[in-house]
């Protein structure tokens, strides 16, 4: 029964990983750009939610209403002011600039919030669970994460398929030069891509803060999880990130069941095996 439980928890955790991965996938898909500070932005969002909770005393989930728009706006502005300067043919500047951001953010957060590990309480939701009988139960928070992931991914897919901006973003992904020739403003489109990715980061940040402990150096490992989910699922596929996240979550759950020290390692190993056997991922676009 422990094993089935570990697998169910892994599947639900996969929802959170899919949210980590969706932001990364959006950035790479549209701009061919990867933010190495992605995980640190998630943790920064979690700390932002923490500060708001301390100020207002409200349930952390309410902070989604603030964290998500703030992150989205910051993402758009940051893209227009800084990142658009490094997105382009040469990969080196974008990788090194965002790597620098990662180190700066980690140290600033350490300065502001100390190295202590934090976690936000979602009140009664923390302990609420859905019983499946025969000793199996699903926690309310993990279930919420999974449902949110499906809603977010579904929403993004709908946006890309049915709105004008969505079509523009897809066209940019196919050929950024041509889109410029057609009269679209690439800088604005990249800004919108970053806005979407950052909004998803904001959602992931609040859920992370409620689900697990976090500290100022917790970012890089989230970047790695996001990256692994993207590669497992297949580049360019949003639903693929959910499959990738679930496979990663289940691998970690099974690993932890064998030995707590194997949890993260098992996820990495399964990722490497999939990379060897199927480098294009399970569901490439």
């Amino acid at each position: 029964m422990d094993w089935i439980n570990a697998i169910i928890q892994g599947v639900l955790l996969g929802g959170l990983y899919a949210l980590f991965a969706a932001g990364l996938s959006l950035m790479f898909g549209i701009m061919r750009f990867v933010n190495l500070a992605h995980g640190d932005f998630i943790v920064a969002g979690a700390f932002g939610a923490m500060v708001l909770v301390e100020m207002t005393g409200l349930n952390p989930l309410w902070m989604l209403c603030v964290v998500v728009p703030v992150m989205a706006l910051a993402g758009y502005t940051g893209q227009r002011l800084v990142l658009n300067r490094v997105v382009g043919q040469d990969l080196l500047p974008s990788i090194l600039v965002t790597f620098g951001f990662s180190v700066i953010l980690q140290n600033l957060m350490q300065e502001a919030f100390s190295a202590d590990s934090r976690r936000l309480s979602a009140g009664a939701l923390d302990t609420a669970s859905l019983s499946l009988g025969s000793g199996l139960s699903i926690g309310a928070v993990p279930l919420l994460m999974f449902v949110v992931a499906i809603v977010v991914l579904g929403g993004l897919n709908w946006f890309f398929a049915h709105t004008n901006m969505g079509r523009l973003l897809r066209a940019t992904s196919d050929d950024p030069e041509m889109i410029g020739l057609m009269g679209a403003d690439r800088r604005h489109i990249f800004g919108v891509a970053m806005l979407l990715a950052s909004a998803v980061v904001g959602i992931a940040a609040v859920l992370l803060a409620v689900k697990t402990n976090f500290d100022p150096t917790a970012g890089p490992i989230r970047l790695l999880f996001a990256f692994e989910a993207v590669i497992i699922g297949g580049l360019g596929s949003l639903w693929g990130t959910l499959i990738g996240g679930v496979i990663l979550g289940v691998s970690q759950g099974i690993g932890a069941q064998i030995d707590p020290g194997f949890q993260i390692l098992a996820g990495h190993v399964v990722f490497l095996i999939i990379l060897i056997l199927r480098p294009q991922g399970l569901f490439p676009r």
Partner: protein, 327 residues
């Protein structure tokens, strides 16, 4: 190479800098020697990372994998096979290169930014993996047996001098090696790759094998440096051995601030890094914030670093690698 005026200057500068360093143990106190050893291995690691990222287009944030492997290799060879530590150094380098081979096969399935993150995952796998080996002390690490250390030289002073010369030697080998490589046909191919990969491929540069060999070679040298680093520290833990902060973040900052894609840049960056550290290390986290901000600013404003800034106004080179047409 004819000994024209500029080359004479370069030669004089080399003698002036390397000369006193060669006799370090005779004039430097213990603290200074320790500092210089650290300067040497950071400079070597910076040159190696620059060879990857600056010349070969392989942007790795996972070089700590090979530094750590080298460290664990020399400890394992000494403890389980009784290999004297001096023999252990080159052997650890070779072993690291051998392990880097299959690793590279996996990492090379990814390109660009995903290659960078992939190398990081691989380093994490080694870190978590070595923490699971009880014979090597698991997560809490292990110390080198004193008998193995004492067998290295007659007394502590002799041991420290020996470590110093090995560090200096390895640094000079890396510096000279990268310079000669960049002057060779391989270097010409790498430069072509760096400037325009598509064009390089179209004129027949075999990019993949070239990058592969560079990656393995750099891994082997990093392993040897890692072996030396942990031979000096006498103790190894997975956290210290596979530390992304020590062996990737600092090394990358050194290269970026000094100037990526030149041999002089990492030297300049390394000197600046250690000077800054002497004055600012007390600031702790703020010191890292400052380094990060400077690196980001340089990448945005002058991607060729401080050396690029200097040579923009006064073109010069200490290590000539560019080619001039004859006559």
């Amino acid at each position: 190479m004819t000994m024209n005026n500029t080359n004479l200057w370069r030669f004089a500068l080399l003698i002036l800098v390397v000369g006193p360093l060669l006799f370090g143990p005779y004039w430097a106190d213990r603290g200074t020697m320790r500092l210089l050893i650290e300067v040497f291995y950071f400079l070597a690691l910076a040159q190696l990372w620059n060879l990857l990222a600056g010349y070969s287009g392989l942007i790795s944030v996972g070089q700590q994998a090979f530094v750590g492997l080298g460290g664990y290799m020399i400890f394992s060879l000494a403890m389980f096979a009784g290999v004297p530590v001096l023999w252990g150094l080159p052997l650890a380098g070779i072993a690291t290169a051998l392990i880097a081979w299959p690793t590279a096969l996996i990492a090379f399935r990814l390109t660009g930014p995903y290659f960078a993150i992939g190398t990081w995952v691989i380093a994490e796998v080694f870190r978590l993996g070595f923490a699971q080996i009880p014979a090597l002390g698991g997560g809490s690490g292990i110390s080198l047996p004193t008998a193995m250390v004492k067998a290295m030289a007659a007394n502590r002073a002799a041991r420290e001098s020996l470590t110093y010369w090995i560090a200096l030697g390895l640094m000079l080998v890396v510096l000279l090696g990268v310079w000669l490589l960049m002057r060779s046909k391989v270097g010409l191919g790498l430069s072509a790759l760096r400037d325009n990969e598509e064009a390089a491929v179209s004129v027949g540069v075999r990019t993949r094998p070239l990058k592969f060999v560079v990656y393995i070679g750099v891994a082997g040298m990093s392993g040897m440096l890692g072996a030396l680093i942990f031979l000096q520290k006498l103790r190894i833990t997975p956290e210290a051995a596979f530390s992304v902060n020590d062996w990737s973040v600092l090394v990358i900052f050194i290269v970026v601030i000094g100037g990526i894609g030149s041999l002089e840049g990492p030297i300049l960056g390394c000197i600046l890094f250690f000077v800054l550290r002497e004055f600012l290390a007390d600031l702790g986290t703020w010191y890292m914030v400052i380094l990060g901000v400077v690196s980001v600013a340089i990448m945005l404003l002058e991607p060729r670093g401080l050396w690029g800034m200097i040579t923009r106004y006064r073109p010069m080179t200490l290590f000539p690698v560019s080619r001039k047409s004859a006559g």
